[in-house]
C-alpha cells in the first residue's frame, strides 16, 4: 500500500511538473493565507499576556502541532473527502477495476506540490515556538507521537467524510465542518471553549487528542476542566479507535456505491 502510494504520488508529481506554475502559486498562496492566522494570534497578544491561561509561545505550540498534523494528513489523505467529484464524474468505476486499494488511489489522486504549502507554514511556526518553550526530553518525547495521532485522527475524519459521500453526493460540506473545523478548533487551547464542547471533543469526536490532552502533559499543566490525568496518554487509543470506525464506514460505503448509468 505504501509502495503503491509512493509510486502513484511520484507519477503525479512528474506529470504536474510539466505545468508547475499554477501549483507553485497555490502552494505559496496557502502558505500566505495560513500565515494570516499566525498574525491574528500576534494581534491578540498585543492586548493581553495570556489567552485562557496560556502564553504566546504555548498558544503557538498548540497552533503549530495542530497545523502540522492537519497539513500532513491533508497532504496524504485530504483528497478522500473530494470523493463525490469522482462519484459524480463516474471515474470511481475505473478506480474500482484496479487491483489495488481504492482508498490509496483516491487519496493520492492528482498529487502535486500544492499539497506542501501548509506543511511549510506549520514547520516555520513549530521551529519558532519549540525552542522558546525550552522543553526537556522527558516531556518532549510526546510531541512526535501527538503529531502522529493527530494525523491519524484527521485522516479518519477525512475518510468518514468520504464514506458519507457514497450515500450523499452533497456531503462534502458536512465533512468539512469536522475536518477544517476540527483544525481551527484545535489551533487554540481548548480552555478558550466551554466545558460542554470540550467533553464532546474528548469523548465523542476525539479532537481533544489531536493536541490538547497530550500538550497538557508536554507543557505540564493542570487540566482546567478537571478531566482524569490518564487521558493525556490516551491519544493513540483514541486515534486507533476512530481509524477503525473510519475503515468500517469506508468499506460499508464502497458496498453501497451505485455508480452512474452508462
Amino acid at each position: 500500500m505504501v509502495r503503491t502510494y509512493l509510486l502513484l504520488a511520484w507519477t503525479w508529481l512528474r506529470a504536474s511538473a510539466q505545468y508547475p506554475g499554477p501549483l507553485i502559486t497555490m502552494a505559496i498562496g496557502s502558505f500566505a493565507v495560513n500565515m494570516l492566522d499566525v498574525a491574528a494570534i500576534w494581534v491578540i497578544f498585543e492586548h493581553t499576556r495570556s489567552l485562557a491561561g496560556f502564553g504566546l509561545d504555548e498558544v503557538m505550540f498548540f497552533y503549530g502541532t495542530s497545523s502540522m498534523s492537519f497539513a500532513l494528513s491533508d497532504m496524504l489523505f485530504g483528497n478522500v473527502d473530494r470523493l463525490s467529484q469522482h462519484v459524480k464524474a463516474g471515474t470511481f468505476d475505473t478506480i474500482l477495476i484496479r487491483p489495488t486499494s481504492a482508498f490509496v488511489q483516491i487519496a493520492v489522486d492528482r498529487f502535486g506540490v500544492h499539497r506542501f504549502g501548509r506543511i511549510a507554514q506549520a514547520t516555520v511556526v513549530l521551529a519558532v515556538a519549540l525552542p522558546r518553550l525550552d522543553l526537556s526530553w522527558d516531556r518532549a518525547w510526546m510531541i512526535p507521537l501527538m503529531i502522529l495521532c493527530g494525523i491519524v485522527i484527521f485522516a479518519s475524519i477525512f475518510t468518514l467524510g468520504g464514506a458519507m459521500q457514497f450515500l450523499l453526493t452533497d456531503a462534502p460540506e458536512v465533512a468539512n465542518a469536522f475536518t477544517y473545523g476540527g483544525n481551527t478548533l484545535t489551533q487554540y487551547p481548548l480552555s478558550v471553549y466551554g466545558g460542554e464542547l470540550v467533553r464532546g471533543v474528548t469523548f465523542v469526536v476525539p479532537l481533544a487528542f489531536v493536541n490538547w490532552q497530550p500538550a497538557l502533559f508536554v507543557l505540564d499543566r493542570q487540566d482546567p476542566f478537571g478531566l482524569p490525568y490518564w487521558l493525556r496518554f490516551a491519544a493513540p487509543v483514541a486515534a486507533l479507535a476512530l481509524a477503525a470506525v473510519a475503515m468500517l464506514a469506508w468499506r460499508a460505503g464502497i458496498r453501497r456505491y451505485r455508480s452512474t448509468g452508462s
Partner: protein, 264 residues
Amino acid sequence: MIEVERVGRSFTVGRRRARRTVHAVRDLSFTVEAGEFVGYLGPNGAGKSTTIKMLTGILAPTSGRVEVAGLDPTRRRTALARRIGVVFGQRTTLWWDLPLRDSFELIRHLYKVDQSVFRSRLEELTALLDLSAFMGTPVRQLSLGQRMRGDVTAALLHDPAVLVLDEPTIGLDVVSKAAMRGFLRRLNAERGTTVLLTTHDMGDIEKLCRRVMLIDHGRLAFDGTLDDLRATAPGEESIEDVVARLYTGRSTTHAGDGLDTSKD
C-alpha cells in the same frame, strides 16, 4: 469462467415522495465457459452495463450470486482485477493527464507484471493496435479511436483470462472498427481469452460472437447461437431486423406483424 445465478440489482431513485425503485437487472442467470466469445445485447437501459459492473466488482448485486474466474467480485475485487481486463467504451480507465507510456508503466506496477513479460506484451499490443505514434501523448489529447486502442492495450497488459468490454466499438470509424474486431477475434482464437462484450453494432455480433445473449428490462430474453437468433424471426432479412423484433416484440420491416417473442 463466469457464473451468474439469479442475480438482481435495483436502484432507489428520486427524493422523498418521488422515490421509487428501478430494477436494472432481475433474476438473471447464465454461465460463460472458458474460451467463449459472447455478445451481450439489449435495448438502451436494459441492464447491460449494470451486469458488467456486477461482474467486475464495481456494483454489489442486491440479490443472487456472481462468480468470475473463481472469485466473488464484490468480496475479492482486487484479486479479481488481476485476472480480468475491463474496457468501458464510454469512459477511459486510463489516467487523463498522463501520457500513454506512463499509464502503461503504472499498470505494470499495479498489476505486478514482470518487466520482460511487460516489454514483449506491450510491443506486441502496440504493433497490433498501431499505437506507437501516441505513446508520449497525454490521454486527454487522444482522439476517441486512439484512446479506445489505448484502453484495450491497458486492459490486456496483464494477460487476463477474461476480457469484458462495454461498447468497445462505439464511435469508431469503419477501418478502426474492423481492426478492433480482427484484434479481438485473434485474441480469443490464439490466446483463448474469454470475451464478453456489449454493443449496439450488429456488425460486431455477426463478425465476432458465436453466442449471443439478449437482455430486456433486466431479464434474459434470449441465449443461443447466432443461427438460433436468426431462427427466432424467420421472415426478417438482416440480423438488425431480427434483434429489433426481439427488442420491440414487433417486426420493423413488415408493419403490423405483431408476434411477441421477447416477453415472457
